[in-house]
């Protein structure tokens, strides 16, 4: 017999049956770092860029603190070089047919497959996450993402006709992130023909490795460029000429600040903020499985953040007992160990947890920690916080990884109130064995993703995103593609930045208006008042502004609306919202059709008012007819909403729902006083939103005429029209925290203000930036873009099986 290899410990282990270390060799990760002489630069245009005279930051093993490599920090000129490379690459990349891009993405997927060990060991080594999660989860999903988007690219010419790639995308990633966050965003961007400059945090080798793998594939070196540098480079990257969109994922306050600083800049902004998730455990749930859901969400290195856990009071004790029992069996350790549930995410994450736990305790919460966790830093034990008073400051902040904050609820209705009572709207899961209850909760939750009896499932074909302050950018599925597309023929986005715009005073004061003489003319006296809550009301300011016709004569007076009127209008819209959103698309269409018929009956009045604004009679009549057609078209279009996705590895459907945004504020353009008003009103209402509209400033009378019909056709509060000083009303709406989205068609300055002010509740905004729109053209006046912007997506996962 050959010499024995057995150690002396077998006897002890035979008795204790403990787990041993299962180290995963990271030799290949170190060997790759050696190829760079342990000094990582940036990967730009298919080459390593290692400029001289740059600061460098050590890339450390988050657990041992061992120095793995030093990473050069980019400066503004490196950023400019990367953007320039991406801009050059965009020319050929976007000009190639989709199949060519599909080939490139497929080849990248194959390269990843061939070198996956390098990828997973490097990622686990530098992030400290459990290697099992990276190996079995992230790396596989990265390949699926590339394959899925390769297919989307290859069918782009048919499936996405009418859309074109935006251009160069600036991608900004948070300090602790999985390389998957990058994959989710670069895949759709590259697929549709955009090129990417990713700014990654100081010490993140994995994105550089991916860029190298992509760059070495050959013909398109500059499509993916990765530079690493401090957060101070974010505004520099965002304001580089040529960057058409900035996709930011990271912390809430940083996103808010970026929203403010990018107001009026050339780049559009897509935000994905926060990491917290939510789990609703009802009394009909399979509690043991729900506990596994909690583990998946917070204690398995799958999710990035902490978890808010709502447990029905009747099963509180049982659920807590099972949770605590389960926590005792969790193992934490070095990420490169094959048998741990949780790795460690470095000292900063650890400090954050400790601060949160101390604060929660001081505010009266109970803290339970358990698990087989090394006692030394930077390991954090799985933590369960309960009895945190809902009004305490700690209950309002985002829950950090790996903390679970549990609180009870009494009924499903209350669960919805509690769950929706936070500014966050990322993802949530519902655990209930009663289908009706599960769907009720799933539809009622204001979040981007809902899993029924599961947590944290992901698939490239399912859109993932959020609402409210989690930001409204999407990745995955068709929604992920539209993030990087714009309607064909739209001019490239230009900067409308006006440095001397004073946000504090913009639209603050209303210039006073004086009587301008009596109204004259053949037409009947125009309707007067603000159309709020279904009837014409006198403005709070009790003053009016004169409207002149094209020849300069007084056409009529309209009410001068102000802040209080906006408040009232938003309230009225909120009251009408639940009823309207609950209507079937068919019922909504019926009302839009009724309004269309009413418009046609009123055709002669409307046409004569348009004539007084200088339109030819024929053109005026055509505008009225087209407006009626728009109403009918949107009513019909909205019937075909949402669809069912089939996902690999999941039995059961995933529903892609299109839900109304809530109260939508619309500031209409000055031109096309009737057609633009109706073209904006129709999609907004068709998708179930209620609206507060500011009509054309030049001629609000047309909108008020329509209000006369809306008063008879629509339920009260559905559409509210406030006339007055445009800038002032814009200011009030943009700063209103309970307006869920805003469309602004007006001046460049107004657009800049709206973008800046939206940072308050991070409402999605659509601002024209002073560019006129051809409202009579189908593409611009009634194109799919309006439908996309009028609703938000929710993915509802419904696994099945008995």
């Amino acid at each position: 017999m050959a010499a024995t290899r057995a150690g002396p410990r077998a006897r002890e282990i035979f008795t204790s049956l403990e787990y041993g270390p299962v180290p995963e060799s990271h030799a290949c990760a170190l060997a790759w770092l050696d190829t760079q002489d342990r000094c990582l630069g940036h990967y730009v245009n298919g080459k390593w860029l290692k400029p001289e005279h740059r600061n460098s930051v050590p890339c450390q093993d988050p657990i041992t603190g061992e120095n793995l490599a030093s990473c050069l920090q980019a400066q503004a000129e490196d950023v400019a070089a990367a953007v320039e490379a991406a801009r050059m690459a965009f020319k050929s990349w976007s000009a190639h047919p989709g199949v060519v891009r599909a080939q490139h993405l497929t080849r990248l997927a194959k390269v990843i497959q061939k070198h996956q060990r390098l990828l997973w060991t490097l990622e686990s080594l530098v992030t400290g996450r459990a290697v099992r999660e990276v190996r079995d989860g992230d790396v596989q999903l990265a390949q699926q993402l590339l394959h899925y988007h390769a297919i989307q690219a290859s069918t782009q010419e048919e499936a996405l006709a009418g859309w074109e790639p935006m251009g160069v995308i600036g991608l900004i990633l948070p300090p602790t992130f999985s390389f998957l966050e990058m994959m989710w965003r670069i895949c759709p961007a590259l697929a549709v023909g955009c090129t990417v400059v990713a700014l990654v945090p100081p010490a993140s080798p994995t994105p550089l490795l991916l860029a190298q793998l992509s760059g070495e594939l050959g013909p398109f070196p500059g499509v993916l460029n990765v530079i690493s540098g401090p957060a101070s480079l974010v505004p520099i990257l965002a304001s580089q000429p040529g960057i058409q969109k900035v996709a930011f994922c990271g912390a809430l306050e940083e996103g808010r600040a970026l929203r403010r600083s990018l107001a009026g800049e050339c780049a559009e902004l897509g935000l994905a903020l926060g990491t917290e998730s939510l789990l609703l455990l009802t009394d009909t749930a399979d509690i043991d499985s729900a506990v596994e859901g909690v583990v998946d969400a917070a204690w398995s290195d799958r999710g990035p953040g902490g978890l808010r856990l709502l447990i029905q009071e009747s099963v509180w004790d049982e659920a807590m007992r099972r949770l605590q029992e389960r926590m005792g069996r969790l193992r934490s350790g070095r990420g490169l160990d094959g048998a741990v549930d949780m790795g460690a995410r470095g000292a900063a994450a650890c400090d954050l947890v400790q601060r949160f736990v101390c604060e929660a305790q001081s505010q009266g919460a109970q803290v339970f920690q358990a698990g087989d966790v090394p006692s030394e830093r930077p390991f954090c034990p799985p933590t369960l916080v309960s009895n945190l008073p809902p009004a305490s400051p700690c209950a309002q902040v985002e829950v950090p990884w790996p903390v679970v904050v549990a609180s009870p609820f009494r009924t499903a209705k209350e669960a919805l109130l509690v769950a929706n009572g936070t500014p966050r709207g990322g993802s949530a899961s519902v655990w209930s064995e009663r289908l009706g209850q599960a769907l009720e909760l799933g539809y009622g939750l204001q979040v981007g993703t809902v899993w029924i009896n599961a947590h944290g499932l992901r698939d490239p074909s399912v859109p993932t995103g959020g609402c409210k302050e989690s930001g409204c950018s999407w990745h995955g599925g068709p929604d992920g593609l539209y993030e990087y597309l714009r309607p064909s023929g739209t001019p490239a986005q230009l900067s409308c930045l006006s440095k001397n715009l004073n946000y504090d005073t913009f639209g603050l004061a209303v210039p006073s208006t004086l009587p301008a003489g009596p109204e004259i003319g053949p037409s009947p006296a125009p309707p007067y008042g603000l159309f709020v809550g279904g009837r014409f009301q006198a403005p709070g300011a009790r003053s009016s502004r004169p409207i002149r016709d094209s020849s300069g004569n007084l056409h009529g007076y309209v009410a001068e609306g102000g802040a209080k009127d906006i408040r009232g209008a938003v309230e009225a819209a909120h009251q009408a919202f639940p009823g309207w959103a609950g209507q079937s698309p068919g019922a909504r269409a019926a009302l839009l059709w009724a309004l269309a018929a009413a418009l046609e009956r009123r055709k002669s009045t409307l046409a004569s008012r348009l004539e007084r604004q200088g339109a030819e009679l024929k053109a005026a009549e055509a505008e009225v007819e087209l407006s009626a057609r728009r109403l009918r078209a949107w009513g019909a279009r909205v019937q075909a909403q949402g669809h069912t996705l089939q996902v690999a590895g999941l039995r059961g459907p995933v529903l892609r729902l299109r839900e109304p945004l809530g109260v939508l504020a619309v500031v209409c353009p000055d031109e096309w006083p009737l057609l633009a008003f109706v073209s904006l009103l129709a999609p907004a209402l068709a998708y179930g939103n209620t609206v507060v509209m500011v009509p054309s400033a030049a001629c609000p009378l047309l909108a008020l005429e329509v209000c006369q019909d809306m008063a008879t056709v629509f339920p009260a509060g559905l559409a509210n029209v406030v006339t007055g000083d445009r800038d002032h009303l814009t200011r009030c709406l943009a700063l209103h925290q309970d307006v869920q989205a805003m469309w602004y068609f007006g001046s460049a300055q107004g657009s800049q203000f709206v973008e800046w002010a939206s940072a308050g509740n991070l409402k999605p905004v659509w601002a024209s930036r002073g560019c006129p729109r051809a409202w009579d053209q189908e593409a611009e006046g009634a194109g799919p873009e309006l439908g996309l912007r009028a609703a938000r997506t929710k993915a509802l996962w419904l696994p099945m099986g008995d």
Binding site: A2, A6, I13, F14, R329, R651
Partner: protein, 309 residues
């Protein structure tokens, strides 16, 4: 005991399937740990032969293997030769109990003999003959009786009748241990598996066992998770620890490690002893021995390097 324990239970099938997938990937053991765990697994094995062509000679061989499951020199190399490692029991048909008892006595050891009973594997015989079968096996010297439940009672929801039947099995066993085979592959749903487990434990089973090995679907992880959760719930409610025995389809050493960690994860270390955990298997032992051989020598064994069972 209270039938309300099974009325409110909810088992979510897809969620249990996901857990089953994860549990196999989340825990592994390597090197000495693997060797020690594999030796431990040997002590959990109910070394089984349930064939129509069993005779006294292959029963004798089986019993000898149960006494000496791993080659002596391999155990010495691991310094485990004095631990008295044998399998937990041998498991045979009632008619072969005598042979097994005799062979084990000849080998000079007190490994228990387990006998299947009650119309194994289908359970479709009269209650009277099923009870008589138990008594005869006990008379012949079997100290553990693996009974199959009447699946028709589960599928028609006659839980009290099922409870009564198992009570009678319990009585017929006398001093012998009662292992109740749920034949989970024929119960229709995981919720039924949970309910049948609970009833079997309430009626006094010492072990609940997944399957006979004769169904088309045998010991699977999802089923095991549900049974283990039932065992834990029963322990929480009554303070009684009931044993668990997966059987059928466990063939590789790697599988056996996964089963050990499954029990460790769901129930804890106190269940990892032969009184509370068994693995019903026939070919598993030889694969474990091959793995031990490899661990000790660094080479892969040839077929003839290890004695057959």
């Amino acid at each position: 005991h209270d039938l309300s324990w099974i009325s409110k239970i909810q088992v979510n099938h897809p969620a249990v399937l996901r857990r089953a997938e994860q549990i196999q990937a989340r825990r592994t053991v390597k090197k000495e740990w693997q060797a020690a765990w594999l030796l431990k697994a040997v002590t959990f094995i109910d070394l089984t032969t349930l064939s129509g062509d069993d005779t006294s000679s292959n029963i004798q061989r089986l019993c000898y293997k149960a006494k000496y499951p791993i080659r002596e020199d391999l155990l010495k190399a691991l310094n485990m030769h004095d631990k008295g490692i044998t399998t937990a029991a041998v498991c045979v048909y009632p008619a072969r109990v005598c042979d097994a008892v005799k062979a084990l006595k000849a080998a000079g050891c007190n490994i228990p003999v387990a006998s299947v009973a009650t119309g194994f594997p289908a359970g479709q015989t009269h209650l009277k003959t099923r009870l008589e079968e138990i008594r005869l096996a006990v008379e012949d010297g079997a100290t553990e009786i693996d009974v199959v439940i009447n699946r028709s009672l589960v599928l028609t929801g006659q839980w009290e009748a099922l409870y009564d039947e198992i009570r009678q099995f319990r009585k017929a066993c006398g001093e012998a241990h009662l292992k109740t085979i749920l034949a989970t592959g024929e119960l229709g749903s995981l919720t039924n598996v949970y309910k049948a487990s609970m009833i079997a434990m309430m009626a006094g089973s010492d072990f609940i066992k997944t399957s006979t090995g004769k169904e088309t679907v045998n010991a699977t992880f999802p089923v095991a998770i549900v049974m283990l959760r039932a065992i834990r719930d029963f322990f929480w409610k009554t303070g009684n620890k009931i044993g668990f025995k997966p059987a059928g389809g466990i063939r590789s050493a790697k599988d056996s490690l996964a089963w050990l960690s499954l029990v460790k994860e769901e129930l804890g270390d106190e269940w990892l002893k032969p009184e509370l955990f068994r693995i019903g298997a026939s070919t598993l032992l030889s694969d474990i021995e091959r793995q031990i051989y490899h661990h000790v020598t660094g080479r892969y064994a040839a077929y003839h390097d290890l004695p057959m069972s």
